[in-house]
């Protein structure tokens, strides 16, 4: 993951992306116990949003650095990295508000627990609900904060359904 952090910082410095933030299971582990995951998910803001192949400059930069794509991911050291351009006001805010964590001496931007929870709510698969429950269990996010963010991003009904299904006895 250190190599991933170095690559992302270099990519931003070179202007290939204007910003990034790690999300998904790898980000969740800042707050919970370790979980099994196959890849590292990264939100990216690309410079030329009008391009159809928005990820091409990213893949080209990775190739120049010696990292090649395997399917939809780029293999960086032990991690297949999936790049996801920000595609909504929620993902944009999650990236903008991300923490800068320290990974073995290298800064790495990581989506915060409250945004991870609401991103999980917006996707809504079983594993996303498990992530949301794990974040709540770790006390890294409060019910009130999720309610607030879900209202802001039009997910309040989803939140109420989740709460009724998993939290209300």
């Amino acid at each position: 993951m250190r190599k991933v952090a170095e690559l992302l910082n270099a990519m931003r410095q070179a202007g290939v992306i204007s910003d990034y933030a790690l999300f998904g299971a790898a980000a969740q582990m800042r707050y919970t116990e370790a979980v099994a995951t196959l890849d590292a998910d990264v939100l990216v803001a690309v410079q030329e949003v009008s391009r159809v192949d928005v990820l091409s400059p990213i893949y080209a930069f990775c190739a120049k650095e010696g990292y090649h794509h395997e399917g939809e991911a780029v293999r960086v050291d032990a991690w297949p990295v999936q790049f996801m351009p920000v595609f909504s006001t929620l993902t944009e805010a999650a990236m903008r508000e991300a923490d800068t964590a320290d990974f073995d001496g290298v800064p790495l931007k990581v989506v915060r627990a409250d945004y991870l929870a609401v991103l999980a709510l917006s996707v809504g698969r079983a594993k996303d609900f498990a992530r949301l429950l794990a974040l709540l269990e770790s006390s890294s996010v409060t019910l009130d904060r999720i309610a607030e963010l879900s209202r802001e991003y039009g997910l309040y009904d989803s939140w109420l359904r989740f709460k009724k299904r998993f939290l209300d006895e």
Partner: protein
């Protein structure tokens, strides 16, 4: 306290100690978990399945 409750309390306490690892350590744990999973998956896919029978 019955046995099941005691076991669950012990499990919860153990999980809490794992949450306290540093983030880089947890990422390294996840790498090991993934390697083990990939090996199991590779072993499973190379094993002949029982219901594959040759028909004349």
């Amino acid at each position: 306290m019955n046995d099941v409750t005691q076991i669950m309390n012990l499990q919860a306490a153990w999980q809490k100690t794992r949450v306290r690892f540093s983030w880089p350590d947890k990422i390294k744990q996840a790498e090991l978990l993934r390697d083990a999973y990939m090996k199991l998956r590779a072993a499973k896919s190379s094993r002949p399945t029982a219901n594959k029978t040759r028909t004349a």
